[in-house]
């Protein structure tokens, strides 16, 4: 028996050894006219690897962003998400994801399935609080933000408009370079929000600008339309740069970083915001304050009573002064 098994194992090994041989001869590269013949060795007898290495493949940005949200998201936040989709031509939408149970694994799978390299996941909790996960997909990292001060593009106060799919200019405030975690956030924002050059849905003109600015430890986002006088398409009119005006298009939001994880949708924590207080805690605190009001009143009443008991008024000596007059 044992012998037999050994034999089969050996044969399996043989097969395994043979298999790579089978696939090893790579197919010659295809051209329009059929298979390309392997290039004849150069007359200079230069090794081909030496030729290939200086011409490293040019950098190509193949970023794709999956944009999705959790179930039971409120309309305002949903509109914000839709705005993001319309601002990022390299974004892919997906249906809502159930926010409970093993969300990380499911989302990772989803991102991989849609062959995206990053993900913006809008997570709404308690129909009040919006969290934004910004994730680089296969190997992380992921950043979790709390989103505040949300205004969508729908609002009528923001009067600007720009081409759908034109590539935005990104402006960052310099305090992004002060600390490592901000540096990481900056790199991720650049990769997620910059439309890849020569993307098939991108338009070749630049008519809007994104603002990412750190104020008070939060990242503020603004989107402006650029309006500048020009007659030609590769040159601004003389003095046009001074006449340039910006009109806000929206949306607006403010990101408060909570944590940075090493993996995508999870993994060890690399950074934790020491100033972060969850909105739940804030609400609880407020409630407690309100509750304290009644307790204070009761306490004051009791104290007053005690005080009165302790220092009773001595009977007034003039109390029955006029009693006999009537």
């Amino acid at each position: 028996m044992a012998k037999k098994r050994k034999h089969t194992e050996a044969s399996a090994q043989e097969v395994a050894a043979e298999k790579p041989d089978d696939s090893a001869p790579t197919r010659p590269e295809r051209t329009l006219f059929g298979f390309k013949k392997p290039a004849a060795p150069a007359p200079d007898a230069e090794p081909p690897s030496a030729v290939a290495s200086p011409r490293a493949p040019p950098f190509r940005n193949k970023e794709k962003v999956l944009v999705t949200c959790s179930r039971r998201i409120t309309f305002r936040y949903r509109h914000l998400m839709q705005d993001m989709v319309s601002l990022l031509p390299h974004a892919k939408k997906d249906s809502k994801v159930e926010s409970k149970q093993s969300k990380g694994a499911a989302l990772n799978e989803l991102v991989e399935l849609r062959s995206c390299s990053s993900c913006l996941f809008f997570e709404c909790r308690k129909q009040k609080d919006l969290y934004l996960w910004m994730v680089k997909s296969p190997g992380g990292p992921s950043v979790k933000f709390l989103v505040n001060a949300v205004h969508s593009m729908e609002e009528l106060k923001l009067t600007g408009n720009h081409l759908k799919g034109s590539r935005p200019l990104l402006t960052f405030s310099t305090n992004f370079d002060e600390q490592p975690h901000w540096k990481l956030v900056k790199e991720m924002l650049t990769q997620v929000f910059a439309t890849p050059k020569d993307h098939r849905k991108a338009k070749p003109f630049h008519d809007h600008v994104f603002v990412f600015s750190i104020v008070d430890g939060h990242v503020w986002f603004r989107n402006y339309q650029i309006s500048v006088p020009h007659n030609e398409i590769d040159k601004v009119d003389k003095g046009g740069l001074d006449k340039m005006t910006l009109i806000e298009v929206g949306p607006r939001f403010c990101l408060n970083p909570i944590k940075i994880f090493a993996g995508s949708f999870g993994g060890p924590t690399l950074y934790e915001n020491p100033y972060y207080i969850s909105p739940n805690q804030i609400r609880a605190l407020e409630k407690r304050k309100k509750a304290g009001k009644y307790a204070k009143k009761v306490k004051a009443k009791v104290r007053r009573k005690m005080h009165e008991m302790e220092n009773t008024l001595e009977p007034d000596e003039f109390a029955d002064m006029w009693k006999g007059e009537d």
Binding site: N61, T159, A194, W220, P268
Partner: protein, 221 residues
């Protein structure tokens, strides 16, 4: 030490992540180093925070337990970063120095800071694009889908018009009110003036008559 790839899938909960990092720290012992880093960061943030704390509710002191693993972050950054010499056309990013600290609670100042950042950045970017001889401005006859639909822009226009109309109407009402107030005064003045004129005329006639009588006497002499 940052690469706990095993934990990336099921290390979902925060506690789990925290536990993992603790393990990592204790096993490799860059703990002392990290703590030093963390301290100076905290003090940085502390300074900046004490200034703008005024309007914020419940801005507590920073928690001491907060994890800050600088090396791992920088390592991650290196992992995901684009190559150093990548063409600017890929990124299109501009840095802008805000100058002194911006007050968060002052809406106008804050928005102005963002606006100047955008304006300044755009100017720099446009100069760069011009020097690169790229076609980057939209020609006048280029029509394409916009971010906001025409219907939406129509709504915005309608709103702007109604707002303008409202302001004009309010101004007109204000003017009318003032005119009414003033008209009473004017009328009273006019009445007074007329009375005065009448009196003067009567006076002058009387005077003239007197003079004539005297003149007659003078002539009659």
């Amino acid at each position: 030490m940052a690469r706990h790839h095993g934990g990336s899938v099921d290390g979902w909960t925060w506690t789990c992540g925290g536990a993992l990092i603790m393990v990592g720290l204790s096993s490799e012992d860059p703990l002392v180093h990290d703590e030093v880093d963390m301290d100076d960061v905290n003090s940085d943030v502390d300074e900046s925070d004490s200034e703008d704390d005024s309007g914020e509710e419940a801005q507590a002191t920073p928690s001491d337990k907060a994890i800050y693993n600088r090396e791992a972050i920088l390592e991650k950054l290196e992992d995901i970063a684009w190559p150093q010499n990548v063409d600017w056309m890929h990124k299109l990013n501009i840095d802008h120095d805000q100058g002194e600290k911006v007050d968060v609670n002052d809406d106008l100042a804050r928005e102005l800071a963002f606006y100047t950042q955008a304006l300044d950045g755009t100017r720099q970017a446009f100069e760069k694009l011009q020097s690169m001889k790229v076609r980057f401005l939209r020609p006048m006859d280029y029509y394409a889908e916009m971010v906001k639909t025409d219907a939406h822009m129509h709504k915005i226009k309608g709103r702007l018009l109604t707002e303008k109309k409202k302001i004009e109407e309010a101004e007109e009402r204000k003017k009318a009110r003032e005119a009414r107030k003033r008209s009473k005064e004017v009328q009273a003045e006019k009445k007074k003036e007329r009375a005065k004129e009448k009196k003067e005329q009567i006076d002058s006639v009387k005077k003239w008559r007197k003079q004539r009588q005297q003149g007659d006497f003078a002539k009659g002499k």
